[in-house]
Symmetry: C2
Subunit: 196 residues, 2 copies
Protein backbone atom coordinates (compact mmCIF):
# COMPACT_ATOMS: atom_id res chain seq x y z
CA UNK A 1 0.00 0.00 0.00
CA UNK A 2 2.58 2.65 0.93
CA UNK A 3 4.44 1.87 -2.25
CA UNK A 4 1.35 2.56 -4.35
CA UNK A 5 0.73 5.83 -2.54
CA UNK A 6 4.35 6.90 -3.10
CA UNK A 7 4.03 6.06 -6.74
CA UNK A 8 0.85 8.10 -7.15
CA UNK A 9 2.35 10.99 -5.25
CA UNK A 10 5.44 10.86 -7.43
CA UNK A 11 3.27 10.93 -10.53
CA UNK A 12 1.43 13.98 -9.21
CA UNK A 13 4.70 15.79 -8.45
CA UNK A 14 6.01 15.03 -11.89
CA UNK A 15 2.79 16.25 -13.52
CA UNK A 16 2.86 19.48 -11.50
CA UNK A 17 6.46 20.19 -12.35
CA UNK A 18 5.98 19.34 -16.01
CA UNK A 19 3.03 21.57 -16.74
CA UNK A 20 4.63 24.47 -14.89
CA UNK A 21 7.88 24.11 -16.81
CA UNK A 22 6.06 24.03 -20.15
CA UNK A 23 4.01 27.08 -19.12
CA UNK A 24 6.99 29.08 -17.91
CA UNK A 25 9.80 28.04 -20.26
CA UNK A 26 8.02 26.69 -23.32
CA UNK A 27 7.75 23.19 -24.73
CA UNK A 28 11.19 23.12 -26.37
CA UNK A 29 13.02 24.08 -23.17
CA UNK A 30 11.08 21.46 -21.19
CA UNK A 31 13.49 18.60 -21.78
CA UNK A 32 13.64 15.41 -19.74
CA UNK A 33 16.76 16.89 -18.19
CA UNK A 34 14.98 20.10 -17.16
CA UNK A 35 12.26 18.05 -15.46
CA UNK A 36 14.61 15.72 -13.59
CA UNK A 37 16.71 18.73 -12.51
CA UNK A 38 13.64 20.50 -11.16
CA UNK A 39 12.53 17.36 -9.30
CA UNK A 40 15.97 16.26 -8.13
CA UNK A 41 15.47 12.91 -9.85
CA UNK A 42 17.93 10.67 -11.59
CA UNK A 43 17.83 11.32 -15.32
CA UNK A 44 16.92 7.77 -16.34
CA UNK A 45 14.06 7.47 -13.84
CA UNK A 46 11.79 9.74 -15.87
CA UNK A 47 11.81 7.40 -18.89
CA UNK A 48 9.47 5.16 -16.92
CA UNK A 49 6.87 7.92 -16.77
CA UNK A 50 7.52 9.57 -20.12
CA UNK A 51 8.65 7.26 -22.92
CA UNK A 52 8.61 10.26 -25.29
CA UNK A 53 7.84 13.97 -25.44
CA UNK A 54 4.19 13.47 -26.36
CA UNK A 55 3.69 11.45 -23.16
CA UNK A 56 5.04 14.42 -21.27
CA UNK A 57 2.74 16.85 -23.09
CA UNK A 58 -0.20 14.55 -22.43
CA UNK A 59 0.54 14.43 -18.70
CA UNK A 60 0.86 18.22 -18.58
CA UNK A 61 -2.43 18.77 -20.41
CA UNK A 62 -4.34 16.24 -18.30
CA UNK A 63 -3.03 17.93 -15.15
CA UNK A 64 -4.08 21.37 -16.40
CA UNK A 65 -7.51 20.06 -17.39
CA UNK A 66 -7.98 18.36 -14.01
CA UNK A 67 -6.85 21.47 -12.12
CA UNK A 68 -9.30 23.62 -14.09
CA UNK A 69 -12.16 21.22 -13.37
CA UNK A 70 -11.29 21.03 -9.68
CA UNK A 71 -11.47 24.83 -9.42
CA UNK A 72 -14.78 24.85 -11.29
CA UNK A 73 -16.25 22.20 -8.99
CA UNK A 74 -15.10 24.05 -5.88
CA UNK A 75 -16.71 27.29 -7.00
CA UNK A 76 -19.91 25.72 -8.35
CA UNK A 77 -21.27 24.84 -4.90
CA UNK A 78 -24.83 26.17 -4.74
CA UNK A 79 -24.67 27.82 -8.16
CA UNK A 80 -26.87 26.90 -11.12
CA UNK A 81 -27.71 28.11 -14.61
CA UNK A 82 -26.23 31.43 -15.67
CA UNK A 83 -24.25 31.89 -12.43
CA UNK A 84 -22.70 28.44 -12.85
CA UNK A 85 -21.89 29.20 -16.48
CA UNK A 86 -20.08 32.40 -15.42
CA UNK A 87 -17.87 30.39 -13.03
CA UNK A 88 -17.11 27.84 -15.74
CA UNK A 89 -16.03 30.56 -18.18
CA UNK A 90 -13.93 32.42 -15.60
CA UNK A 91 -11.97 29.32 -14.70
CA UNK A 92 -11.19 28.48 -18.34
CA UNK A 93 -10.58 31.96 -19.77
CA UNK A 94 -6.92 33.05 -19.46
CA UNK A 95 -7.81 36.22 -17.56
CA UNK A 96 -5.90 35.35 -14.38
CA UNK A 97 -2.32 34.26 -13.65
CA UNK A 98 -3.12 30.57 -13.33
CA UNK A 99 -5.42 30.32 -16.35
CA UNK A 100 -2.91 32.24 -18.45
CA UNK A 101 -0.19 29.77 -17.49
CA UNK A 102 -2.54 26.92 -18.33
CA UNK A 103 -3.14 28.34 -21.80
CA UNK A 104 0.60 28.11 -22.43
CA UNK A 105 0.31 24.34 -22.02
CA UNK A 106 -2.81 24.03 -24.15
CA UNK A 107 -1.31 25.61 -27.29
CA UNK A 108 1.59 23.15 -27.67
CA UNK A 109 -0.77 20.31 -26.74
CA UNK A 110 -3.04 21.16 -29.69
CA UNK A 111 -0.15 21.25 -32.10
CA UNK A 112 1.06 17.84 -31.03
CA UNK A 113 -2.46 16.37 -31.00
CA UNK A 114 -2.62 17.16 -34.74
CA UNK A 115 -0.14 14.34 -35.35
CA UNK A 116 -0.77 11.98 -32.42
CA UNK A 117 -3.94 9.88 -32.22
CA UNK A 118 -3.60 9.30 -28.49
CA UNK A 119 -3.38 13.03 -27.69
CA UNK A 120 -6.29 13.67 -30.04
CA UNK A 121 -8.31 11.13 -28.07
CA UNK A 122 -7.42 12.84 -24.77
CA UNK A 123 -8.64 16.13 -26.25
CA UNK A 124 -11.84 14.55 -27.57
CA UNK A 125 -12.62 13.15 -24.12
CA UNK A 126 -11.91 16.49 -22.47
CA UNK A 127 -14.22 18.32 -24.85
CA UNK A 128 -16.91 15.63 -24.49
CA UNK A 129 -16.83 16.16 -20.73
CA UNK A 130 -17.17 19.94 -21.10
CA UNK A 131 -19.95 19.63 -23.65
CA UNK A 132 -21.91 17.46 -21.26
CA UNK A 133 -21.32 19.84 -18.36
CA UNK A 134 -22.27 22.90 -20.43
CA UNK A 135 -25.45 21.21 -21.66
CA UNK A 136 -26.43 20.41 -18.08
CA UNK A 137 -25.80 23.98 -16.93
CA UNK A 138 -27.77 25.40 -19.88
CA UNK A 139 -30.70 23.06 -19.18
CA UNK A 140 -30.71 24.20 -15.55
CA UNK A 141 -30.64 27.81 -16.66
CA UNK A 142 -33.62 27.26 -18.98
CA UNK A 143 -35.58 25.65 -16.18
CA UNK A 144 -34.88 28.36 -13.61
CA UNK A 145 -35.34 31.11 -16.21
CA UNK A 146 -31.86 32.66 -16.12
CA UNK A 147 -31.16 31.49 -19.69
CA UNK A 148 -33.81 32.63 -22.16
CA UNK A 149 -32.11 33.16 -25.50
CA UNK A 150 -33.93 31.69 -28.53
CA UNK A 151 -30.61 30.18 -29.72
CA UNK A 152 -30.53 26.37 -29.39
CA UNK A 153 -28.39 24.88 -26.61
CA UNK A 154 -26.24 22.87 -29.04
CA UNK A 155 -25.23 26.07 -30.82
CA UNK A 156 -24.56 27.79 -27.49
CA UNK A 157 -22.30 24.93 -26.36
CA UNK A 158 -20.31 25.24 -29.58
CA UNK A 159 -20.08 29.03 -29.30
CA UNK A 160 -18.87 28.79 -25.72
CA UNK A 161 -16.27 26.10 -26.41
CA UNK A 162 -14.99 27.92 -29.49
CA UNK A 163 -14.86 31.26 -27.68
CA UNK A 164 -13.10 29.88 -24.61
CA UNK A 165 -10.54 27.99 -26.68
CA UNK A 166 -10.00 30.94 -28.99
CA UNK A 167 -9.47 33.23 -26.01
CA UNK A 168 -6.47 31.06 -25.05
CA UNK A 169 -4.77 32.01 -28.29
CA UNK A 170 -5.76 35.68 -28.32
CA UNK A 171 -4.76 36.30 -24.71
CA UNK A 172 -1.45 34.47 -24.80
CA UNK A 173 -0.27 35.76 -28.18
CA UNK A 174 -1.79 39.25 -27.92
CA UNK A 175 -2.05 40.27 -24.26
CA UNK A 176 -1.93 43.99 -25.11
CA UNK A 177 -5.04 43.76 -27.26
CA UNK A 178 -6.87 40.93 -25.51
CA UNK A 179 -6.36 42.25 -21.99
CA UNK A 180 -7.98 40.63 -18.98
CA UNK A 181 -10.59 43.39 -18.97
CA UNK A 182 -11.31 42.76 -22.65
CA UNK A 183 -11.83 39.07 -21.94
CA UNK A 184 -14.19 39.89 -19.07
CA UNK A 185 -16.17 42.29 -21.27
CA UNK A 186 -16.27 39.68 -24.03
CA UNK A 187 -17.70 36.95 -21.83
CA UNK A 188 -19.95 39.14 -19.65
CA UNK A 189 -21.68 40.65 -22.66
CA UNK A 190 -22.12 37.17 -24.13
CA UNK A 191 -23.61 35.85 -20.88
CA UNK A 192 -25.89 38.90 -20.52
CA UNK A 193 -27.28 38.09 -23.94
CA UNK A 194 -28.23 34.57 -22.82
CA UNK A 195 -30.57 36.02 -20.23
CA UNK A 196 -32.44 38.18 -22.70
Amino acid sequence: MPKKVDHQQRRAEIADTTWRLIAERGIDATTMRAITDALGMANGALKHYFPDKNALVKTAFVRVFDNTNTRIQQRLAGLTGLAALRVFCQEVMPAEDVTELEARVVLPFWQRALADAQLEEVWAEAMAQWRQQLRRILAEGREEGTIRTPVADDALVEQLLAMLNGAQVLAVLGPDETTRETQQAMIESYLDNLGR
Copy 2:
Protein backbone atom coordinates in the same frame (compact mmCIF):
# COMPACT_ATOMS: atom_id res chain seq x y z
CA MET B 1 13.10 43.39 -64.16
CA PRO B 2 12.51 39.80 -65.30
CA LYS B 3 14.86 38.62 -62.60
CA LYS B 4 12.78 40.34 -59.94
CA VAL B 5 9.58 38.84 -61.31
CA ASP B 6 11.17 35.39 -61.32
CA HIS B 7 12.25 35.85 -57.77
CA GLN B 8 8.78 36.89 -56.63
CA GLN B 9 7.20 34.05 -58.52
CA ARG B 10 9.63 31.60 -56.96
CA ARG B 11 8.77 32.94 -53.52
CA ALA B 12 5.07 32.46 -54.23
CA GLU B 13 5.61 28.88 -55.42
CA ILE B 14 7.63 28.09 -52.33
CA ALA B 15 4.99 29.61 -50.06
CA ASP B 16 2.22 27.63 -51.79
CA THR B 17 4.10 24.37 -51.55
CA THR B 18 5.11 24.97 -47.95
CA TRP B 19 1.68 25.71 -46.51
CA ARG B 20 0.15 22.77 -48.38
CA LEU B 21 2.81 20.37 -47.11
CA ILE B 22 2.33 21.53 -43.52
CA ALA B 23 -1.44 21.19 -43.89
CA GLU B 24 -1.31 17.75 -45.47
CA ARG B 25 1.67 16.10 -43.74
CA GLY B 26 2.12 18.07 -40.54
CA ILE B 27 4.85 20.41 -39.39
CA ASP B 28 7.37 17.72 -38.41
CA ALA B 29 7.21 15.99 -41.78
CA THR B 30 7.61 19.30 -43.61
CA THR B 31 11.38 19.29 -43.71
CA MET B 32 13.56 21.41 -46.00
CA ARG B 33 14.10 18.21 -47.97
CA ALA B 34 10.37 17.58 -48.37
CA ILE B 35 9.90 21.11 -49.73
CA THR B 36 12.82 20.98 -52.17
CA ASP B 37 11.66 17.54 -53.35
CA ALA B 38 8.14 18.84 -53.98
CA LEU B 39 9.49 21.87 -55.86
CA GLY B 40 12.27 20.07 -57.74
CA MET B 41 14.81 22.49 -56.25
CA ALA B 42 18.38 21.91 -55.14
CA ASN B 43 18.47 21.27 -51.42
CA GLY B 44 20.77 24.16 -50.54
CA ALA B 45 18.75 26.73 -52.52
CA LEU B 46 15.98 26.81 -49.92
CA LYS B 47 18.31 28.05 -47.18
CA HIS B 48 18.19 31.44 -48.88
CA TYR B 49 14.44 31.63 -48.32
CA PHE B 50 14.18 29.79 -45.00
CA PRO B 51 17.14 30.21 -42.65
CA ASP B 52 15.28 28.10 -40.06
CA LYS B 53 12.00 26.26 -39.48
CA ASN B 54 10.26 29.27 -37.97
CA ALA B 55 10.92 31.23 -41.17
CA LEU B 56 9.17 28.44 -43.04
CA VAL B 57 6.19 28.46 -40.63
CA LYS B 58 5.97 32.23 -40.94
CA THR B 59 5.87 32.06 -44.74
CA ALA B 60 3.17 29.37 -44.59
CA PHE B 61 1.02 31.36 -42.17
CA VAL B 62 1.37 34.62 -44.11
CA ARG B 63 0.33 32.79 -47.28
CA VAL B 64 -2.71 31.27 -45.59
CA PHE B 65 -3.69 34.62 -44.11
CA ASP B 66 -3.31 36.35 -47.48
CA ASN B 67 -5.28 33.65 -49.27
CA THR B 68 -8.10 33.94 -46.73
CA ASN B 69 -8.21 37.72 -47.11
CA THR B 70 -8.18 37.50 -50.90
CA ARG B 71 -11.22 35.20 -50.81
CA ILE B 72 -12.98 37.53 -48.39
CA GLN B 73 -12.30 40.57 -50.59
CA GLN B 74 -13.52 38.75 -53.70
CA ARG B 75 -16.79 37.77 -52.03
CA LEU B 76 -17.37 41.10 -50.27
CA ALA B 77 -18.17 43.01 -53.49
CA GLY B 78 -21.44 44.86 -52.90
CA LEU B 79 -21.98 43.38 -49.44
CA THR B 80 -22.14 45.39 -46.23
CA GLY B 81 -22.96 44.93 -42.54
CA LEU B 82 -24.36 41.58 -41.50
CA ALA B 83 -24.05 40.06 -44.99
CA ALA B 84 -20.38 41.08 -45.13
CA LEU B 85 -19.80 39.66 -41.67
CA ARG B 86 -21.27 36.32 -42.76
CA VAL B 87 -18.80 36.13 -45.68
CA PHE B 88 -15.90 36.99 -43.37
CA CYS B 89 -16.84 34.20 -40.94
CA GLN B 90 -17.41 31.63 -43.69
CA GLU B 91 -13.98 32.23 -45.18
CA VAL B 92 -12.21 31.87 -41.83
CA MET B 93 -14.19 29.03 -40.24
CA PRO B 94 -12.78 25.59 -41.12
CA ALA B 95 -16.08 24.35 -42.55
CA GLU B 96 -14.79 23.75 -46.10
CA ASP B 97 -11.86 21.81 -47.53
CA VAL B 98 -9.62 24.82 -48.01
CA THR B 99 -10.33 26.48 -44.67
CA GLU B 100 -9.83 23.16 -42.88
CA LEU B 101 -6.43 22.77 -44.52
CA GLU B 102 -5.59 26.33 -43.52
CA ALA B 103 -6.42 25.57 -39.88
CA ARG B 104 -3.79 22.85 -39.96
CA VAL B 105 -1.19 25.53 -40.62
CA VAL B 106 -2.53 27.92 -38.00
CA LEU B 107 -2.22 25.50 -35.04
CA PRO B 108 1.52 24.86 -35.41
CA PHE B 109 2.03 28.56 -36.14
CA TRP B 110 0.49 29.49 -32.76
CA GLN B 111 2.66 27.04 -30.92
CA ARG B 112 5.83 28.42 -32.46
CA ALA B 113 4.71 32.03 -31.99
CA LEU B 114 4.69 31.34 -28.24
CA ALA B 115 8.48 31.22 -28.31
CA ASP B 116 9.35 33.49 -31.26
CA ALA B 117 8.92 37.27 -31.07
CA GLN B 118 8.90 37.68 -34.84
CA LEU B 119 6.09 35.17 -35.34
CA GLU B 120 4.18 36.77 -32.47
CA GLU B 121 4.50 40.11 -34.26
CA VAL B 122 3.16 38.60 -37.50
CA TRP B 123 0.17 37.27 -35.55
CA ALA B 124 -0.41 40.62 -33.83
CA GLU B 125 -0.46 42.40 -37.20
CA ALA B 126 -2.84 39.84 -38.65
CA MET B 127 -5.26 40.20 -35.75
CA ALA B 128 -4.97 44.01 -35.84
CA GLN B 129 -5.99 43.91 -39.50
CA TRP B 130 -8.98 41.70 -38.77
CA ARG B 131 -10.06 43.80 -35.78
CA GLN B 132 -10.07 46.88 -37.95
CA GLN B 133 -12.02 45.13 -40.70
CA LEU B 134 -14.56 43.70 -38.25
CA ARG B 135 -15.06 47.11 -36.61
CA ARG B 136 -15.70 48.66 -40.01
CA ILE B 137 -18.21 45.97 -40.95
CA LEU B 138 -20.01 46.29 -37.60
CA ALA B 139 -20.19 50.10 -37.94
CA GLU B 140 -21.72 49.67 -41.41
CA GLY B 141 -24.22 47.20 -40.01
CA ARG B 142 -25.24 49.62 -37.25
CA GLU B 143 -25.76 52.38 -39.80
CA GLU B 144 -27.82 50.30 -42.21
CA GLY B 145 -29.74 48.65 -39.35
CA THR B 146 -28.76 45.02 -39.94
CA ILE B 147 -26.79 44.93 -36.66
CA ARG B 148 -28.86 46.01 -33.68
CA THR B 149 -27.61 44.09 -30.65
CA PRO B 150 -27.09 46.17 -27.48
CA VAL B 151 -23.65 44.52 -27.05
CA ALA B 152 -20.76 46.96 -27.70
CA ASP B 153 -18.80 46.53 -30.92
CA ASP B 154 -15.48 46.02 -29.10
CA ALA B 155 -16.95 43.02 -27.27
CA LEU B 156 -18.43 41.68 -30.51
CA VAL B 157 -15.05 41.91 -32.26
CA GLU B 158 -13.45 39.94 -29.44
CA GLN B 159 -16.23 37.33 -29.44
CA LEU B 160 -15.94 36.87 -33.19
CA LEU B 161 -12.14 36.57 -33.20
CA ALA B 162 -12.17 34.17 -30.26
CA MET B 163 -14.94 32.06 -31.77
CA LEU B 164 -13.34 31.88 -35.22
CA ASN B 165 -9.92 30.99 -33.80
CA GLY B 166 -11.41 28.49 -31.39
CA ALA B 167 -13.34 26.85 -34.21
CA GLN B 168 -9.99 26.06 -35.87
CA VAL B 169 -9.05 23.88 -32.92
CA LEU B 170 -12.45 22.25 -32.41
CA ALA B 171 -12.94 21.39 -36.07
CA VAL B 172 -9.46 20.06 -36.74
CA LEU B 173 -9.09 18.06 -33.52
CA GLY B 174 -12.73 16.96 -33.22
CA PRO B 175 -14.33 16.80 -36.66
CA ASP B 176 -16.92 14.23 -35.55
CA GLU B 177 -18.32 16.57 -32.90
CA THR B 178 -17.63 19.92 -34.54
CA THR B 179 -18.94 18.98 -37.94
CA ARG B 180 -19.27 21.50 -40.74
CA GLU B 181 -23.00 21.69 -40.06
CA THR B 182 -22.31 22.34 -36.38
CA GLN B 183 -19.98 25.19 -37.30
CA GLN B 184 -22.59 26.69 -39.61
CA ALA B 185 -25.26 26.45 -36.90
CA MET B 186 -22.86 27.99 -34.39
CA ILE B 187 -22.08 31.01 -36.54
CA GLU B 188 -25.54 31.49 -38.07
CA SER B 189 -27.25 31.58 -34.69
CA TYR B 190 -24.62 34.03 -33.46
CA LEU B 191 -25.14 36.28 -36.49
CA ASP B 192 -28.93 36.08 -36.19
CA ASN B 193 -28.59 37.37 -32.65
CA LEU B 194 -26.74 40.45 -33.86
CA GLY B 195 -29.77 41.51 -35.89
CA ARG B 196 -32.13 41.31 -32.92
